[in-house]
């Protein structure tokens, strides 16, 4: 049985940090001893970027709800079983209209655990009829083993040729369970084996299975390629599991990860580490430049992180119901101190290292 270390979302606990404004206040004013950290705006200016503006839209990321079967300590969504925000069929219908007409070639469904939205399967069926090139579902793996009604998810994914991107904190039980709750490792291993059985992640298979690695603590990920090798070796030797790619992602200092950073007195050091690891080469490839993020209630954001901080797109068009790509492409991307997380080291986006 999966047993989370923290039991409730910030939202449910009525914690101050459940208010995006409070998070932004901390990010902007810091718990610093006065103006030591350069603002992200200043920093990108030094690298020759006055602002961020969108390139051609490639990825539409849709967050179909904050409900999740896990309560991971680092969750930037503040997701959990106690979150009830769920995208309705009506909003999904609006998304389908947009998918049909937008220039995006990749559809990326996320949550929470997107599979927990009761309209999830209907949406996948409808969206796949529209012929997106790459149809990604962000699965936390344990959902496949959480309840009988999800046991057939691997078959369902296969039927629609879904590209499964799964979070896997580490190739060892200890590190994985510490970040995500007791039992998560064993359930994830079982789920990966089931995906492999359907052909997912096998060499040469077009059923794509990629893993996402986030550090399980107040440190940055390093060496995506080396990490991928370690994961591949260990999972194959220990559990006969295969997968295609591994993306290493930096934890952004927002939501429950921000809570953890403050509580463990790591916030200041972590922010310094992000600023120190600032890599001008990563700036050109931050994911907000080719992505749009849609929230469960249809609002539009530059990325999933901005969504959680309630920083809506700086555009006349702010809701999926009034979607207009030409107008949206003219916007400036909304940035703040959390953006340092996307430009640290090799840089990372929802697709992993970018530079």
């Amino acid at each position: 049985m999966v047993e989370p270390k923290i039991k409730k979302s910030l939202h449910k606990r009525n914690d101050n940090l459940s208010d995006p404004k409070e998070q932004l206040r901390i990010l902007n004013n810091g718990l610093f001893s006065g103006g030591e950290l350069p603002t992200f705006k200043e920093k990108i200016k030094e690298s020759g970027y006055a602002t961020f503006t969108p390139k051609a839209l490639e990825i539409l990321q849709i967050n179909v709800g904050y409900m999740c079967n896990q309560v991971c300590a680092h969750c930037h969504v503040d997701a959990g079983p106690d979150r009830k925000e769920i995208m309705t069929r009506e909003t999904m219908q609006q998304c389908l209209e947009v998918i049909k007409n937008s220039g995006a070639h990749t559809l990326d469904l996320t949550g929470g655990a997107p599979e927990m939205n009761p309209n999830f399967r209907w949406f996948v069926e409808e969206a796949s009829k529209l012929g997106v090139k790459d149809f990604i579902v962000r699965s936390n793996l344990t959902i496949i083993r959480a309840n009988k009604k999800y046991y057939d998810l691997p078959d369902f994914f296969k039927q629609y040729n879904i590209h499964v991107v799964s979070s896997m904190p580490h190739w060892t039980r200890g590190k994985t369970d510490k970040q995500r709750g007791n039992g998560v490792f064993d359930a994830s291993i079982k789920a990966l084996q089931e995906l492999n059985e359907r052909g997912y992640g096998m060499p040469g298979s077009n059923l794509k299975l990629d893993l996402v690695y986030n550090p399980s603590g107040a440190f940055l990920p390093s060496g995506q390629e080396a990490m991928k090798k370690e994961f591949k070796k260990a999972l194959l030797e220990d559990f006969d599991i295969q997968f295609h790619d591994l993306f290493a992602i930096t934890n952004l200092p927002i939501s429950r990860f921000l809570e953890y950073l403050i509580a463990s007195e790591n916030y200041e050091d972590y922010m310094y580490a992000l600023v120190e690891a600032y890599n001008p080469a990563a700036v050109a490839n931050v994911m907000c430049t080719n992505t749009l993020s849609v929230s469960w209630d249809g609002w539009l954001y530059d990325c999933d992180f901005n969504q959680m901080l309630d920083l809506k797109v700086a555009s006349k068009v702010q809701h999926i119901s009034e979607y207009n790509e030409a107008i949206l492409q003219n916007r400036q991307i909304v940035i703040s101190q959390h953006c340092y997380g996307c430009t640290a080291g090799a840089g990372s986006s929802c697709q992993g290292t970018v530079a």
Partner: protein, 111 residues
């Protein structure tokens, strides 16, 4: 002013060492950077060696830096502690093996 000899935030200022002797400082950092590049040994293996040496050198800054560095590379705490034991074993072995020198000297001097 901190009342201890070591201040953790000094580690962040390490790069400033070049300010008072730019050429030598930069040469050092260039060498240092090269040493830790992926080579015949992987960067991960080098980080574990550095962690063990940091302990035998008992440099708090290096312990701080390489604990973080190994964590960043996905090294587990069991692996980290084993590396420290390797350092400790070499250090104690090195102490003990000098005992042979002492024994030689005693044998020479003692009637």
């Amino acid at each position: 002013m901190s009342k201890t000899y070591y201040d953790p935030s000094d580690l962040r200022k390490f790069g400033k060492i070049t300010e008072w002797s730019e050429e030598l400082g930069e040469k050092f950092f260039e060498y240092y950077g090269k040493v830790f590049e992926e080579g015949a040994l992987s960067a991960r293996e080098k980080a574990l060696i550095a962690l063990a040496v940091a302990h035998t050198e008992q440099c708090p800054y290096c312990i701080d830096a390489y604990t973080k560095d190994t964590l960043e590379r996905g090294v587990t705490k069991e692996e980290m502690m084993e590396a420290v034991h390797v350092g400790a074993a070499i250090k104690s072995g090195a102490t003990l093996v000098h005992g042979v020198m002492m024994m030689n000297k005693v044998n020479k001097l003692d009637l």
